[in-house]
Structure formats: structure tokens, C-alpha cells
Amino acid sequence: MKISPQWLRDFVDLNVNYHQLADDLTLAGIAVESVSGEGDATIFEMDITTNRPDAMNHYGVARECSAIYDLPLKAIEPELQVAVPAQAGGDSRAPFSIDIQDGQGCARFTARIIRDATIKRSPEKIVRRLGLLDQRPINNAVDASNYTLWEMGKPTHVFDLDLLEGGKIVVRRARDGEVLKTLDGVERKLTSEDLVVADAKKPVGLAGTMGGFDTMITEKTRNILIESAWWDPVTVRKMSRRHGLHTDASHRFERGADYESTVVSCNRVAELILQSGGGELVGGPVDVMARKLDQAPVALHVSEVYRILGEKLETTEMLRILRRLGFELIPEHEEEIEFTVQVPSWRLDVEREIDVIEEIARLHGYDKFANTLPAYVGAVVELPDAEKEKKLRTSLLALGYDEAISLTFISHQDAEQFSSVPVIELANPLSEEASVMRTSMVPGMLNMLAYNLNRGSDNIRLFEAGNVFEAAGEKALEFKRICMGATGNAVKESVHYPARPTSFFDLKGDVETLLAAFQHAGLEYKADTAEYYHPGRSALAIMDGEVVAQFGQIHPEIAAGRKLKQDIFIAELYLDRLYQCGLRSVRYEPLPRYPAVERDFSVIFDDSIEFATMQKAVAALRLGELRSFVPVEIFRGGSIPAGKYSLLLRATFQSGERTLREDEAGQWSGQIIGTLEGLGGVLRTS
């Protein structure tokens, strides 16, 4: 909204420069976004908060100036010629009747009539001022209504009286199927939810939103009816939204107009029309009140002002501020510690003591209040999973994964491909590709990897921590996840070493590192993964019976479908399940004092025998001194027949109590060999 500071001078004698004025208004809560132009053509671009429709006009801003600078405010008092008495019988001289059938929607309707006016261009001053606000001049009658809106904030409307049928105005709900062509030329189908201004036969305006096309002022108009009403904010808001019709009028009505200004605004429009187009007033204003607005007085306690604001203000300062803003105060107490505050009719936003306190604070100046820190007794409480999340994030960064954040929305197609849970759809999505809440973080990760590959970054490690969403009946469930993505080289090429591409085992190692932070009795890996993974290069991590992670290479077909030309590795951590396990609690173990003994076994196995099987079988031997049993070398081809592979395994024995004897190690090795042979292994002899 635009304000001309020069126009403000009509109402208050400002003696500050406009930049100072802009600053002072802003600091009082009447925000001036920018200042443009110079001299009389200076324009303030305003950002008036939605609670202050009273300040969305020049008079309202002038009132704020009056309070800021403690200057008198000149009233708007239209000077009108003596009206010709309304006569019965004559057409346009007939007393005009107003019938408010919906008192909830229309609390007050004021109208008056001008006869024999000339419709022409507005006077230069009006045209110039409207021009400064980027308002296009139309004719003197329409401009008078428009000028009054920008001057005092009260939307009004002017009708060609001769086009109103039946000599009366009816405020009523529209009938289903009625049609109204509005001033913008659009034919609008009305329903019983619409509130209209009608004549005896037809709707002639959408209440508080826009007038009708067929009854508008034209060059032919001679006789004019001026409307100034008070419309219910919710009714106007619903209607303007339903018709997609946001106007300067609806903007003000839906925020609450001044109930007491209908007559004065009607008179002001009349004054402007008579000044420019001549004609004569017929009768007085016809003013119909369907209901009174309830604006109860507010009790103001000086002690409450102090309790909320934390600083003792002079009572005289508080009274000065409130009176300049149009509030009336009646002391309820000799010591002036309590007042009854009568709120002005244009301040529908002020209903409670706290609202009055805000008025005092904002005009006193927020910056005049001291900066203090409150005393506090209490302790900082951590979220239950804060440590776990921190541990994971720290490890991920140490493992070389950059943290990324992707969109929370995915397409239906991606939801289907990467999950099997019921989706939550958006009613007003940003696009088709972002129409459901993500059920998986994998598509977002693939998009980010693709984004990088398309820009020449080939070696990527990313992770994202966030929520996935799932519908459960009427409810929306959220689950915390971490998704990791890796592609390209695990070891970058350098002058010292050749590059090494990322493999499944790089990813598995990273997953192992992350999972190792959590307390568990058992952790196993199974190949039974979702279909978007490579069937032979992916795994589920199962911790104490719960699937806590799924990871591996993305299925080559899926990667190709997304034009990803490198092997892509993804890991998903299911944090809700992982967090069921606490962080591993550390217990010191005495350092070994006796030497360890290592024994290597080179065994040929059938391809179908997995290392985990050997591990389990050896563990079942319960050799107390077996410290570790690990694969050291794996070999296929050469002298090894197809379908078989050679594995070099290393057992390490150590005792905490003594040096192991040769024959003990030999005996245990024998047991291990026996076990491996039991699995079909054949010991290689060198």
C-alpha cells in the first residue's frame, strides 16, 4: 500500500523530513518499506500488518503521526450544502428505503442520494493524488469513492440511481443460480453463501467486495446513490476467496472496518462529487443499523503494564499516547492506578488489556525499554535421542559424507518404486513430481547424486537425516531416517596412489562403523532386500532381530532409468528401530599381558558357503581363548576349480592369564579345521 506524506499534511502539521518520518512510523509499527520520489511526490511503500486496517489509509497514518509527535489531528468534517427535502411521489426524489435482511452479514448500511450531477473528469488535485498511489482516475463520482477509501480507509460504492429498480436497496443472501456481472466484467454465478446488495429485482453488488457492472456510473449518469456499509469480516473473506476476488474494499472489510464511519464517509464522497460535478443532495443520509457492534470498555491496570513490560512508565505518558490514538480514559481510582478505557470504533483489534498495553509500548518506543536477562532456576534437559543422533552425525562426517537436505516431497511413481506403505497426498502440491510426502529418502538421494554427476562431480558421498511419512488411517506417521549415498571413487586418484572405486564393502564398512556405536547382542546381515537394490549386492542389517538398516548397490536398471551412469550405493538407516538400542556403554578391558598366537588356514570352499556360516560354526566351538577369526585373503580362478573359492582364514588365540602352549594352539586349530571341513571345506596344503 502506498502513502503520500504530503497528503498526511491535510490532517497533521508535520515538521520532520520524510525519511525521518518513515523511520519514526516504522519504529511505531506502521512499517514503511521504502521511500521513493521527492518533495510533494514522495511516496512511502507501506507494509501495514493485518491487524491494523485502520492504518491502511492517510487519515489513519496521520493519526499515528499525531500520537508519535504529540500533534493535534484535524478531523474530517465534510461541508455539505443544505439538502433538498426528499419528496414522496417523484421518482428519484423518493425516500429511499434500505432493507437489511442479513443483520449478521451487514451490521449497518448508510446511503445518500445526489441528483443532477455531471459525470466528468475529476479535479486535478484528486487525479494527481490518486495517480501518486497508482490509482487510475475514472470519473469524478468513482474517483470520489476511491479517494475516500485512500483518505479515510472506508470503502464506499456509487450506483447509478436510475438503474436501481424498485426504489429500494435490499441486503440479502443471493439466490442459488442468480448471476451478477461485476465491475471487472466477469459474470459470477452466485450461491446462497454470497451476500449481495440488491435492488427490488436483482443483485447489484457483491457485499464489500465489488459493485455490479450494470448499475455502474457512466457518462450518462445523472443521479447517484452512495453506499457506505459495515460488512462482516468473515462473510466478506469467504466470499472474496470463493470468487477469487481480492479488492481494496474486501481487504479492509475482512480485517474490520470502522462501524462509526459510514455516515461521515458517505458525506465525504458526496462532498467530493458535489464539488466537482455539481448537482444537489436529496434528503439526509439514510442510515440503517441492523445491529450494534459490541466494543466493551477495557480495564487498564498500571501494575499490569509494569508486569508485562518490565519498566515503570509515567502515567501521564501512557495517557498522552492513548488519547492521541483516540482512546478515552476514565480513572477508576484516585491514585490513577486503574482506568476504564473506551476503545475507538476504528480499532476492532483492541479488545483486551494486553492490546492496550501494546499500544502504550509501541508508541513509547520499543527501543526505550531496557535490555535485561531474566533470572532462571532450572536445568537443560536433553532430548532422549540427542546423543545417538549426534554420534551418528559425527561419525558420518568423519567417514567423509557431506550432509545434504533434499525436498520432502516425491512423486507418486517414486513412492511406488521405493516403498510399499500408504502415502500421504498433498491437496495443493507444488508440482506433480512433488505431490506426496516422501515415504522414502532414496529418491531424494538419487536426485542429488544425479544433480552432482550432471555437473561433473563424480566422487560423491552424501547423507541426509530427516523424516519419512506414512498414512495410518486418519493419522500421519513420521519416522526418522538417515539415508547415505555414495558413488565414484572411495579413494581418489592422487600422485601417490591410484584411485579405487567405491564397492559394496566400502558402504558396508561405513554401515558397520555406524552400527557399532549401538549396544547389541547380535548383528547379522541378510540378502533379502527391496527390489530397487542389486539382488546380489545389497543387505539388511539385523540387530537383535530388528532390521535397522538396508543398503547396497542400487539395481542397475533403476540407475539406468534415472540416467545414472555409475554404480550407485545407498544405505538407509531406520533410526526409530536403531534408537531402541542404546548407545554402546564402554567397559574397560584389561590390556593383554601375554602374547597372542596366530594360525592361518587356507581352505577351499564351495561358492555357496558364506563366511558368516564359518564364523557361526567356529563360534559354536566356544573356544575361550579365540580372540578373533577373520578372513585374510580370498582367491578365485587359477588352480581353483569353477564354483569354488579359496579362503585364507586367520585365528588369533590369546589368554589373559598365561602364555599359551604350542600344543594348545595346535589342538584348537585342529578343532577349527574339523569344523571347516564339516562345512565342506578342503584344507589346502602348500
Binding site: I308, I354, R362, Y366, L373, A398, D402, A476
Partner: protein, 392 residues
């Protein structure tokens, strides 16, 4: 002399265990030992030498033990035993010495100065090991913390030091928590400012139960007050969504940090002091704050907070022209705040007459953009490693 030559020393059997005979046998053995030690010229030869003399199986010492010591009559055992130990010691010494010789020869062989003092030789060796230390090091890549998360953690840290605990809430909220309980009545124009993304198929539910994506982290205030009584001090960092098409300055997702303090003694001055302190912690102690009235349905009085421009020091100009960052105003708008509206207490069953408090909210991206001079908010959300790795 190679131990494999015909003339190689072998351990004879002794018939006579007299002192003289022993002397003679020992002398021959030691001579052979010396000769062979002398002949060792490299590591492989040394190993052979060591094994020939010291191997447990069939080494010369083992043979000496078997043929001399074990074969000796009981009367001579003590003398032969002593003699054997002396020989054993000597063999070990010679083997060690031979190794040292081999090593020294290696060093001499590897250096241009084949002669000179040992110290000179070592120095020459070190010189030969010199690297081009200006070549790049082998770096283990570290991941980079996301600038938004980093900024969020920093902000949370500032408030944690003031006694604030962290609270979280869901991203999909009900109308009740996102609007109604925050004093946005149904059909209130203030809802228009929020550009809300709604969940589909909610029409059959009462308005307050309808699901939407939270447009701010303020609902966590309500959830916190529902579950705890004053005193309350929480910060609520989190992701929020708005129906904003992405461009350089808009994103449908962004992050906020909400703060809430409710107690029996909290005033508007405390709100000002707390945020002034937090901004100084965040942007440096020379930063000033400016509060001016604003409107949020859930606070009254409400304020917007500006900090003095961190680029031009609040002067409004720099480098001989107007400051672009603050549009020459000297101030940068950063956050919204206010005293909690008494209506909000009504929703959570607090007594507005007895307690008071303040709330504040700030956009994390906005702060990160300022801190790092980022010129496109989309950079935060496309995972571009060229961007992210600048923050490692």
C-alpha cells in the same frame, strides 16, 4: 667361505673328553665360526649362517650339545657343560656381530660416500630419503556439516547456554496446533500470510483436526506447554514448509528455530535483553539490535528485530557506495518475537494472570545466507558437493 663348500666345518665326535682335547675341538669350532662370520656379505647369507649355527634342528650348536655334551661321561659333564655354554655365547655374539656388519655394509653400499664415519653415513642416508614435501598430502576426506544444520546448532547452542532445552514436534501438524491454538481463528486473514500446504482428503474432518505441513515451528510451543508447567525454557529447531515455488529467495522447505520462555517473572525487557544477547553471541559483540512493533496472532505485544548491518557495521554504506546488504539502511531484519498472547495460555491451561513469557522465531536459512554470503537459497537443497564441501 660358504658353509656349503666341502671344507665346511662339521662337528666331530669326541673320544677323549680331556681338557686338552676339548680345547682343541673348541678352537677348531671357533676358527670355523670366525671364518664363516667373516664371509657373510648380505642378509641372505647371514640367515643361512645363523641357521647353520643356531637352528634348533641340526644346527651346529645343537650338534655340539648332542655329540659332546650328551655323549660325555658323567665325570666330565660339568666341564663339558661349562664349555658348551661358553661356545653358545660366542656363537650368539658372532651371529649378532655378523648382522651388524651386514647392515653397515648395506648403508655404505646405498650411499655415495662408501666411507667416512658412521654419523656421516647416516646423514647421507637421510639425505637420500628426502621427499618433495611440497607435493600434496594424502587427505582422508571429511564430510561437511550442512551450513543450515551448522547454523541451527550454533543458534541452539547460544540458547542452551541460557538454560533452554531442545524440543521437537511433527512436521505434519493439525490445524489446531499450527493455527487455532496459536490464536489464528478460522477464516482469519492472518492465515493468508502463511501459504500453507495442506494434506489431501481432509474435508470430512473438523477444521481443527485437518492435517497440514507446519508453516512454522511455533506449534511446538503449544505441545511443550501442554506437557509441562512453567517455568518453561525451550528452543524448537526444525523443518517447516510453505507453498512457495522455489527460486533464489524462496524455498518450499526451510528451517526455523522457535524459542519460548514462560515463568512468573518474564517481561518485555527480558525478551529484548535475551535476543540482544543472542544476536551478539551469534554475530559479534559490536552488533546492535533494534525492535519495532509488528503483528503475530500468538504474541502481544509483537516485535520484529533488526540487527545492525554486519557488512557495513550499520553505517549504510561501504566501499564508497550504498551497502547492498542492508539497502543502505544500516539494518537487517532477522526475526519476529513478542510476549506470548494471553489467548494462547487459554489453550494450554496456563493462568495468564500469574505467568507471562515471550516467544521468538527465526529463519535459519536467512541467518546462514547472511553469515556465509550465499546468494541463492536453492543451494541449500540440491546437494551440490561443490557447495557443501566449502563448509567442511
Amino acid at each position: 667361505m660358504s658353509p656349503k663348500k666341502k671344507s665346511a666345518y662339521t662337528v666331530p665326535k669326541l673320544k677323549d673328553f680331556s681338557a686338552a682335547a676339548l680345547d682343541d675341538a673348541a678352537a677348531k669350532l671357533l676358527r670355523a665360526l670366525e671364518e664363516e662370520a667373516e664371509a657373510v656379505s648380505n642378509e641372505d647369507e647371514w640367515k643361512q649362517f645363523r641357521d647353520r649355527w643356531m637352528a634348533r634342528k641340526n644346527g651346529i650348536l645343537t650338534q655340539v650339545r648332542e655329540r659332546w655334551l650328551i655323549e660325555s661321561p658323567a665325570s666330565a659333564k660339568a666341564v663339558v657343560g661349562k664349555r658348551f655354554n661358553e661356545l653358545k655365547q660366542e656363537v650368539e655374539n658372532q651371529v649378532q656381530a655378523a648382522l651388524r656388519d651386514v647392515e653397515e655394509r648395506l648403508i655404505r653400499g646405498a650411499t655415495p660416500i662408501a666411507s667416512g664415519t658412521l654419523e656421516e653415513i647416516f646423514r647421507a642416508q637421510l639425505e637420500s630419503e628426502r621427499l618433495d614435501i611440497t607435493l600434496p598430502g594424502i587427505r582422508r576426506p571429511l564430510g561437511a556439516q550442512h551450513p543450515v544444520i551448522k547454523t541451527m546448532n550454533e543458534m541452539v547452542g547460544v540458547f542452551r547456554n541460557l538454560g533452554y532445552s531442545v524440543e521437537e514436534g511433527p512436521e505434519i501438524e493439525t490445524d489446531y496446533y499450527n493455527f487455532e491454538a496459536l490464536n489464528f481463528p478460522p477464516n482469519h486473514p492472518a492465515r493468508d500470510t502463511q501459504d500453507t500446504l495442506f494434506m489431501a482428503n481432509q474435508e470430512s474432518k473438523p477444521l481443527r483436526d485437518r492435517l497440514l505441513l507446519r508453516t512454522h515451528t511455533s506449534p511446538v510451543q503449544i505441545r511443550t506447554m501442554e506437557k509441562m508447567k512453567p517455568p518453561v525454557r525451550v528452543v524448537c529447531p526444525g523443518k517447516v514448509h510453505r507453498n512457495d515455488a522455489p527460486d533464489a529467495t524462496h524455498s518450499p522447505i526451510f528451517h526455523q528455530i522457535e524459542g519460548l520462555a514462560v515463568d512468573t517473572n518474564i517481561t518485555f525487557c527480558d525478551l529484548k535483553g535475551t535476543l540482544d544477547h543472542a544476536m551478539k553471541e551469534m554475530f559479534g559483540s559490536s552488533v546492535r539490535t533494534r525492535f519495532y512493533p509488528s503483528f503475530f496472532p500468538f504474541t502481544e505485544p509483537s516485535a520484529d528485530v533488526q540487527i545492525s548491518c554486519i557488512f557495513c557495521g550499520g553505517r549504510g554504506y561501504r566501499d564508497g557506495g550504498p551497502c547492498r546488504n542492508c539497502k543502505a539502511s544500516g539494518w537487517i531484519e532477522l526475526l519476529g518475537c513478542g510476549m506470548v498472547d494471553p489467548n494462547v495460555y487459554g489453550f494450554v491451561d496456563y493462568d495468564a494472570k500469574k505467568v507471562g513469557g515471550f516467544a521468538f522465531g527465526m529463519g535459519v536459512e536467512r541467518i546462514a545466507i547472511l553469515k556465509y554470503g550465499v546468494d541463492d537459497i536453492q543451494l541449500f537443497f540440491n546437494g551440490d558437493v561443490r557447495f557443501l564441501e566449502q563448509f567442511a
